[in-house]
Amino acid sequence: MSDLLRVEGLAVHIGGLVAIADASFVVPAGQVVSLIGPNGAGKTTAFNVITGYMRPTKGRILFDGADITGLAPDRIAERGIVRSFQRTSVFTGCTVLENALMALHRRGGAGLLGALFRLPSARREEARLRAEAWAMLEFTGLAERADTLAEVLAYGEQRRLGIALAAIASPRLLLLDEPAAGLNPSETAACMALIRQLRDRGATILLVEHDMPMVMQMSDTIVVLNQGRIIAAGAPAEIRANPEVIRAYLGSGDWQEAAHAAA
């Protein structure tokens, strides 16, 4: 199987702090790979580097064989990596439908002339984008909220919109940073269903999540990061039994919960 994403010898130093010491992992095409680890392990930092928001101190990021290290976030998105944010992030002051249309940016190509003269091609494209936006809102269960301002949505809906926005951009690789954070059990279930559907549509997914039952159920592969280093990588069953992982998580409620769920 081909690796869609390769992270090679990544190191990120922020000031004097070593956020990531040395990390290498791969995300095979078509899989759901979870990146887990205790708070402050460096997961979000890894996302920031992969998507171009931070420059690594060392190491390379290869996407589909091409070196994308240090490219600007918009360029990386153009190549097909789109992320969601750990802290809820939506286009404020805009309706849910407008949010969706904004996230569909890459699916259109109308330029200045098309806009100024309302060329037929631009009109057709606009109609197509609107249809796609509606379809995606139906798909993510946000269609009834289409006319609502994004910041007015309930917390759970906002998080769903955040994932939807990343998914709408139809990335080849979707990075989700704690999509289930702060969701109640039924919302979490809905969130998992959504992620599964996205995978079934052909997206490769790299997931950061603290909800261990969710991680265990969703992942093809789990990569464990601790204090900026990868301490384990493998199938959920291997990870669950890995003594070093257990030690890293010792005393963490997450892990007991996970063991519970697995039992």
Binding site: V90, F91, T92, G108, D147, L165
Partner: protein, 346 residues
């Protein structure tokens, strides 16, 4: 925000209202167009014409300030560039550029000057966009202020080209083909009024087409949440530069209209107070709305002249300051959004 205009016009089945939305602007333009025939008062037309020129400037500023959220406090630079470019093109010039070389330009038709004004201002918009959008926020504001100041210094000191403080005089007026008269210079107040009205409508339409398109959405997305916008592949520099070029080009057109209407320009066209006037027009009217600069522009373009007989000119600046404070306190989003939300509640 596209919302106040766009949202109520679609969906919801409010057919009558959206019809009204569709025709009201054209009725407004028609009324303005018929005004000189109904009230051929030259003083009123003169006031409306200069207000109109500033409204075009405000419309252009709104594209940057309202839709991209970038505060350009040197916006008058593009206005002044347009004015000087157009004036110089129509007057012609003959200057030395060192090494015994000279550049000579024979006087050109005014409409060529108008186009040159748009291109030169737009070009500088591009340059400033490339340069300044690397440094956002306060630095951008400072760079734009400096830009206008530098141009003012150039206009003051490059006397061979600009006549410096002696001003460029005898600038020819626009000329136009009129039915039954052939190509004639536009000397009358009404003719200039119509010309400015036509350019203002055109500028409004250009901005509307732009902001109600995929490009406009990208601009609003960048303003609303830049890192999210970039994460879905919206290129910051690309779109901000498009906005800067178009904004500067329209400001240049306004400058050209100004030069051929007033027919004398001096380095004071670069004065900071003109930028401030445009900023106030946009903010009081409602930044990021299509009608904001028109409404704000009508108020702040007309009120000072209405007060002229009754108060000293300094009072105008004081009035600006007070109005600004009142607006920031009571109507922070401006008149148009406030009216829109009133109507939605009704």
């Amino acid at each position: 925000m596209t919302a106040p205009d766009g949202r109520s016009a679609e969906g919801r089945g409010e057919l009558n209202r959206s019809r009204l939305h569709h025709y009201a602007p054209w009725v407004f333009v028609l009324v303005l167009a018929l005004l000189p025939l109904a009230f051929p008062d030259p003083y009123m037309l003169a006031v409306l014409t200069s207000a109109g020129i500033f409204i075009i400037g405000a419309i252009s500023l709104n594209l940057l300030l309202g839709y991209t959220g970038q505060l350009s406090l040197g916006h008058v630079a593009f206005f002044g560039l347009g004015a000087y470019t157009s004036a110089l093109a129509s007057l012609g010039f003959d200057i030395g550029i060192g090494f015994g070389l000279r550049i000579t330009l024979q006087p050109q038709p005014v409409w060529l000057g108008f186009i040159a004004a748009i291109i030169v201002a737009g070009g500088f918009g591009w340059l400033l966009g490339r340069l300044a959008f690397r440094v956002r926020g306060a630095y951008f504001v400072i760079i734009t202020i400096c830009f206008a100041q530098v141009l003012r210094m150039v206009a003051l000191n490059w006397i061979e080209l600009t006549q410096g403080p002696m001003a460029l005089i005898s600038i020819p007026p626009f000329s136009m083909w009129l039915p039954g008269q052939g190509v004639v210079p536009l000397y009358s107040k009404a003719q200039n009024y119509w010309l400015v009205l036509a350019v203002a409508v055109l500028a409004f339409i250009v901005v509307r087409q732009l902001v109600e398109s995929r490009i406009g959405r990208a601009l609003v997305a960048l303003r609303a949440n830049e890192s999210l916008a970039r994460s879905v592949g919206i290129r910051v520099t690309h779109y901000l530069v498009i906005a800067a070029v178009i904004s500067a080009g329209i400001a240049g057109a306004a400058g050209s209209l100004f030069a051929h209407y007033i027919r004398i320009i001096d380095p004071d066209v670069f004065l900071f107070i003109y930028t401030v006037t445009m900023v106030i027009m946009v903010i009081t009217g409602g930044k990021g709305t299509l009608w904001g600069p028109v409404v704000g522009g009508l108020i702040f373009g007309l009120v000072p002249d209405l007060l002229r007989g009754h108060a000293r000119p300094e009072a105008q600046w004081v009035l600006y300051g007070v109005a600004m404070i009142l607006f920031v306190m009571f109507l922070p989003r401006g008149i148009v959004p406030a009216l829109a939300s009133l109507r939605r509640r009704a």
